[in-house]
Amino acid sequence: MSASQRLRRYHAHVWAEPVINQLSNPGERGIIIPGEHDSKIRKLVGDPQHYIPGKMRRKNPPNLPEVSQPQALRHYLRLSEENMGIASCIGLGGGTDTVKYNPLINEELARLVADMHPLQPEETAQGILEILYKFRTFLCEISGLDEFSFQPGGGGHAIFTNACIIRKYHEDRKQLAEKNEIVTTVFSHPADAACPATAGFKVVTLYPDPVTGIPEVEALKAAVSKHTAGMMITNPEDTGIFNPQIDEFVKIVHEAGGVCSYDQANANCLLGITRAKEAGFDLCHFNIHKTFSSPHGSFGPALGAVGANRNLAKHLPVPVVAFQNGRYTLEYDRPKSIGKVKPFLGSAQIIVRAYAWTMAMGAEGLRQAAETSIVNANYLKKKILTVPGITVGYEKSDIRLDNIRFSLEKMNSDTGVGTADVMRRMVDYGLQDYHTSHHPWIIPEPFTPEPCESYSRSDIDYWVEVMRQISKEAYTDPELVKKAPHSQSIGRINEASLNSPEKWAMTWRAYLTKSGNNMQPTKT
């Protein structure tokens, strides 16, 4: 797109759609239950209530709304229309999220396992077990590690699982009492700190060198001691800066008797280029809903695949999928396993999508995705730094690999317009808002885009031009940006009441109690 090309004047749907509880019309129903109107069985077993102990019978029916099917469909379609999502816009603002294109064919293929029960006999599940097994071999190759589990239900859950494996490793060696600290970095995902803490570890956080953006080896050496149980670290870090001494970090932690876990949640820029193995890691995890193109689903369902090297594989959750005598089987007999972190085998449908995506890409395609992501990131960086008011954290680290953490500190001090304002204004131009930063905000007024391989040069140009336009507005008419958005489904929300115990309401029933009013909505 050339700079002279016009930016979109997007306007969201405005349905002013009531909350579903308000749509109730007594007597309406959206669906009829099997056997409800003609139960041959009731005649034989009598009143079903009879099978519930008296005290345990529900006395008052739940106050669910009574809506017809057309009305319910209308309602949910309107809500979906008031939802921008990613597929209909340029989603490259979602840094650390790897919001890439999700081919529709993979959805169709995933639905082929919709009606399988996780406990059905292995001989009736050979197809899905084959997919799980083969995708496991792909991840082993991509990471260089030796075994994988697909149980964890998301990236955080995967990091927690790895923390449990580290704990088990030290417990097994009867040194858990002493080995009670996990080292991480402040630009690693917050889960790399929170999950080991939940698993019972003390967390030691390294801060970056102010010039390179990466913690110095000396800082790590000072943090490591006989108490070090392990390291849980993201690379490239949230800034998009790759830690070139990562293998040295691993070595130092290993020498202290610790286990190293590589957070590869978004490994997009690394596919086929560098691996957990070459850096010396014992464990890693991939977010299958990021790098491997399973859709994010409004915040899940998700899957965090956990990988281990030969020494730690015995601690992975059970079961693992094995291939013996021409048949795929589930292996439960692993006495050193941590046991379970999620029932059954995790989310099989997500692996079907990821398998399909990887098969469509092939080895060359994976490498190409990584290379394109890297070029896109640096192209975006180059372009966007020409926009007044935008700077990049740790500018001396010139090359970024996936997401990039920029700062609007200058714009904020020049105009009073900060990142929260710009983020709201972006939506007026038909773009999904962006990821600011995890906390703490080391880089002030941050924003973190990640232009992975799904975005074209014109997509990136458009995104940059929107930022340029907003910057122009900030410097000429800051109120316009501060009062944004101007063309969305609703006006500005009252954020204070979201955080006030007297006013917050997580359910409609709580809202009615607290507000005491129920405005009559338009029910059509």
């Binding site: 309406e28 209530q49 921008m84 998700a302 092939g362």
Partner: protein
């Protein structure tokens, strides 16, 4: 683009990754199936080796159960606007936040509770998080759980609350309910939590909810109850019998089993700061906007979470199962108060019909009496058949028999857990019974 970046080739960008860390060969992964048709034929040919529960008659449950999925649940769950969305805030993704608030609201009605959290990984880990919440509230670490808890779930709990002591409270051999004497013996000033399930893992309805809560509360412990949300049209919500926190799995509410991938957890409580402050997950709240009479939605009290406070946050959270929460909301909206009661009654009727018919076979018994919902324990011991051989024979007749409880509970070798729901017609149940009759005869 490289020119614009100011480099000659890609290698100039890769210099930040030292040579020694590079993979110096291509990945050993098959070359790509670029054509969509080739890809779908390839994946379909692998998946055609599966049998689905629509091909065979299925009586497996044990934590994941087969229910009918209204077409609208699939239609809304497949909307690209919801499917592709992620972190977008109120203004870009209003619909998602409203749909999630509605999910919380509808589940709140079902549970009679004012606070419902964001959908979590699965019921088991939501129970684990609920237990951790009560441990922080009480400052205690000892957790009492029923002896008839799925060992898989107990393993998940142990991983989540590693430094805790888990004490298993015996169940009554006749009814499957909790042994109150054993509970009294074990509850103490160290007890953080009394956790139980209703229905239990065996499908039995815990009729002593009030007594259990009273015993727990008198020791200063918190009560966490995991429920099957689909039972709540006919069974009292846990708040009626003293639960402090309710949790469970959303899978029965319009979610396909997906080989176990259809699970999604929930946590609910009263709207008291003491509880709200301990939720690890996001919470969506309704609020007002600058336009008169208009509602908006956003995240509430996120300071609690690890996203803001890293290791000082409440446990951890992350991408979980939001889309499944939206779909569960659609499901509850379609059913309404009468539908949720009707489905509970149909499940009671069908499962009791199946149990009664199986019990009428001479060498097959029913354990734990008549008070159960959806799942029940069938005892094949009098027939001298083990569950494995019964199931093998059933499989030949295109039937998935019940889960072998002997795997997990020594006292129940020869017993299987059968799950019968609204998807089973009378003919299906009659067919099962006829086949079982033949199997145990020989």
């Amino acid at each position: 683009m490289l020119k614009e970046v100011g480099v000659k080739d890609l290698e100039e960008l890769l210099v930040v990754i030292p040579e020694r860390l590079r993979l110096k060969r291509p990945l050993k992964i098959p070359s790509g199936l670029a054509a969509e048709n080739d890809l779908s034929r390839h994946v379909e040919s692998i998946l055609s080796k599966n049998v689905s529960c629509k091909d065979f008659l299925n009586f497996l449950g044990a934590g994941c159960s087969q229910h009918f999925v209204p077409a609208m649940c699939d239609a809304i769950g497949q909307r690209q606007e919801f499917l592709s969305a992620y972190e977008g805030d109120t203004y870009s993704d209003l619909g998602k936040w409203q749909a999630l608030f509605e999910f919380q609201s509808l589940l709140g009605e079902l549970l009679s509770m004012d606070v419902v959290g964001f959908p979590g990984y699965d019921g088991a880990s939501s129970s684990g998080f609920a237990i951790r919440m009560t441990q922080r509230i009480t400052g205690r670490k000892e957790v009492l759980v029923p002896e008839n808890l799925s060992p898989e779930k107990l393993s998940i709990f142990r991983n989540m609350a590693y430094d805790s002591k888990f004490v298993q409270i015996a169940y009554e051999r006749k009814t499957g309910m909790m042994d109150l004497e054993d509970l009294k013996k074990n509850v103490s000033k160290s007890t953080s939590t009394v956790y139980f399930e209703n229905p239990s893992f065996f499908g039995t309805i815990e009729g002593q909810g009030e007594d259990i809560s009273e015993i727990a509360h008198s020791a200063g412990a918190q009560v966490v109850v995991a429920v099957d949300p689909l039972s709540l049209g006919v069974i009292a919500p846990p708040s009626d019998y003293g639960a402090d926190i309710a949790c469970g799995d959303l899978q029965p509410l319009g979610l396909h089993m997906q080989y176990g991938g259809g699970l999604a957890g929930f946590i609910a409580s009263r709207d008291e700061q003491k509880y709200v402050a301990e939720y690890p997950s996001w919470l969506v709240s309704i609020t007002k906007t600058t336009n008169e009479g208009e509602y908006g939605f956003g995240l509430s009290s996120s300071e609690r979470t690890h996203y803001i406070q890293r290791e000082k946050g409440k446990d951890f959270t992350g991408t979980g199962t939001a889309l499944f929460g939206i779909v569960a909301g659609v499901y509850l909206a379609l059913l309404g108060p009468k539908g949720i009661k009707a489905i509970g009654e149909t499940i009671l009727e069908n499962s009791h019909y199946a149990a009664r018919k199986l019990d009428s076979i001479q060498s097959v018994d029913l354990n734990f009496g008549q008070e159960f919902f959806k799942e029940f324990v069938v005892n094949f011991r009098p027939s001298r058949k083990n569950v494995k051989s019964v199931n093998r024979a059933l499989l030949k007749q295109r039937i998935f028999g019940g889960y072998d409880l002997g795997n997990d509970f020594k006292e129940l070798s020869g017993c299987a857990l059968y799950s019968v729901t609204e998807v089973h017609a009378k003919d299906d149940i009659d067919r099962l019974v006829e086949v079982v009759k033949e199997i145990v005869k020989h």
